[in-house]
Subunit: 331 residues, 2 copies
């Protein structure tokens, strides 16, 4: 039943989906400080998203009481239908960064076992932490006038079977978009049909939605300029600007152009060996690119990421653009 649910036939979106954007945990939180948001980056990213997805004046949509004030300051009379916001269809998914990580790793939620008190408590604690981040991101986007609504995967019936998505209420995501809102999902603790529970990552959520909702392109916002052939801190590290993915999902670097066949292989192997998390990212990105959907991995809050979010690098990658484009190319 769950499998059917995951592969449900969906009513197509009223207007095609333009972009799924991942706000990487490293880009929007302070990596080395527990449960701390990188406010500066989050604000810059929210402004960029607004520029990429909508026009018209900014209407503050977070009408909560602000710290140190006793009432709510919002000029509702200033909101006219002229300020009506025609946003293009975006989905935002964010990672956890320094939220949830402590709770999940201390309790081993990803390994399952809900009959252990520690895992059960850790599951509750992880969800509290990641949903508190989700709320803050929804708020940040709403303040910039983005009609954002939080869609927590656990609440939306996302479950896994051996860590693959087994069920997910994609219909609610689609309805949310059709009504002109921007859904904001996140990596979450979820129920797993084989091991009881696990962590469902934002990247897996994106791949699943990309398959079903077919966005024009996908943007991963991170804290480095893109994918390098070795850790970016090492001397001589080269940014891989374009990676091609074929029908079988295998990938190779096309820019910088490999001088010889041998060198090409070396780059691939080097990336496998030394960049750790980046290889997982390339694999997820390659699985999306295989569907014919362009993927851009870019540094958050830069002109380069703004270009990617606007879809300006879709046809032709400008020479001065810094980022990694991963695209489908027939063998």
């Amino acid at each position: 039943m769950e499998k059917d649910n995951a592969q449900q036939t969906l009513t197509p979106l009223e207007k095609p989906l333009r972009c799924i954007v991942k706000l990487g945990g490293a880009a929007i939180t302070c990596k080395n400080e527990l449960e701390k948001i990188n406010e500066e980056n989050l604000k810059a990213v929210s402004i960029h998203l607004r520029e990429a997805m909508m026009s018209g004046e900014v209407v503050d949509m977070d009408w909560s009481k602000r710290p140190g004030r006793s009432d709510i300051c919002v000029n509702v009379n200033g909101i006219s239908d002229q300020s009506l916001l025609n946003s293009s269809n975006f989905i935002v998914v964010h990672g956890a960064g320094s939220f949830g990580h402590f709770q999940a790793s201390k309790s081993g939620v990803h390994k399952g076992g809900l009959d252990h008190s520690l895992v059960k408590a850790g599951f509750v604690a992880t969800r509290i932490s990641v949903t508190s981040l989700n709320l803050e991101i929804v708020r940040a986007l709403a303040r910039e006038g983005i009609p954002s609504v939080g869609l927590s995967p656990f609440s939306g019936g996302w479950t896994t079977l051996q860590r693959n998505v087994a069920s997910a209420d994609i219909a609610t995501v689609a309805k949310t978009i059709d009504r002109g809102f921007i859904p904001v999902l996140h990596g979450d603790a979820v129920l797993d049909h084989s091991q009881g529970c696990t962590i469902l990552s934002g990247d897996v959520i994106i791949r699943h939605m990309a398959e079903l909702l077919k966005p024009e392109y996908v943007v991963f916002l991170t804290d480095v300029f893109g994918v390098y052939d070795r850790p970016p801190s090492e001397p001589g590290a080269t940014l891989l600007k374009e990676i091609a993915v074929d029908e079988e999902g295998s990938w190779h670097v096309v820019n910088p152009a490999p001088k010889t066949m041998n060198e090409k292989v070396e780059i691939t192997v080097a990336a496998h060996d030394t960049t750790g998390g980046m290889v997982t990212k390339i694999s997820e990105a390659a699985a999306i690119a295989k569907l014919g959907i362009d993927v851009y991995i870019v540094k958050a809050a830069t002109d380069h990421s703004l270009k990617a979010l606007k879809g300006e690098v879709k046809g032709n990658i400008p020479d001065d653009w810094l980022g990694t484009a991963i695209r489908f190319m027939r063998k």
Copy 2:
């Protein structure tokens, strides 16, 4: 399609549902202060809920960083499987109180019309406000060792048609319970198939879940001792201790015993005329009682509400118990 979804055939719960409890907005927030939680009441209610639903030692499940601290204080080594928490099956639903009300009423979310900027912005603002309350309630429960998980109705695909529930992912609520968690839902802004959007109240959510999940009893925690024959502040106001509901859903007071038929009618009419919100509450409660499910309306954070939560008034109502019991009684 949505209607089918609402009337879906459910796999029965592994263990019967004991209680659905409503944390009334008036009981857990400060009515006259915007977005302010009544911390004292919320803590007392959380402790009562813990006593009513589980045994064993208290395991703090909110591992978030606390204000003024730079790291997370939780002794995970102290959590053994001996502290494993066998909770009985409860569902918590809370109202909005002083959260969401400002946002919803300023924008008219309940009247629909998402093509108006003000309504759209108000929808976003309302959800931010009510989900921030939900997060704080989940935290308060988790701190008392209740394995609480937030299930936001909007995220769970709850939609309405002319304000009646049109779809709802009850399967996720059931799965959450079966895995030993306590789902925490709330009144929310949702999509409506006729008018675009509306406010789905906690009371309607409870009625819908009571029909499908058949709890043994339902408890409404509020800020007065129960239902009175006139506003409780008026001299001579009498607490209606027991109300009987028949097959057709019509109700009458059985305790205090009406002396004459005329007086009985008068009490009913008086309640209709003067107590406003309470009549809606009795109607919702009567709809639940009609299903054969006892409903108790009690004052939060009192011995009376603790007795109701524990199910101790189910068979026989003690003379010194203050509250209103609404029960099915054949005509």
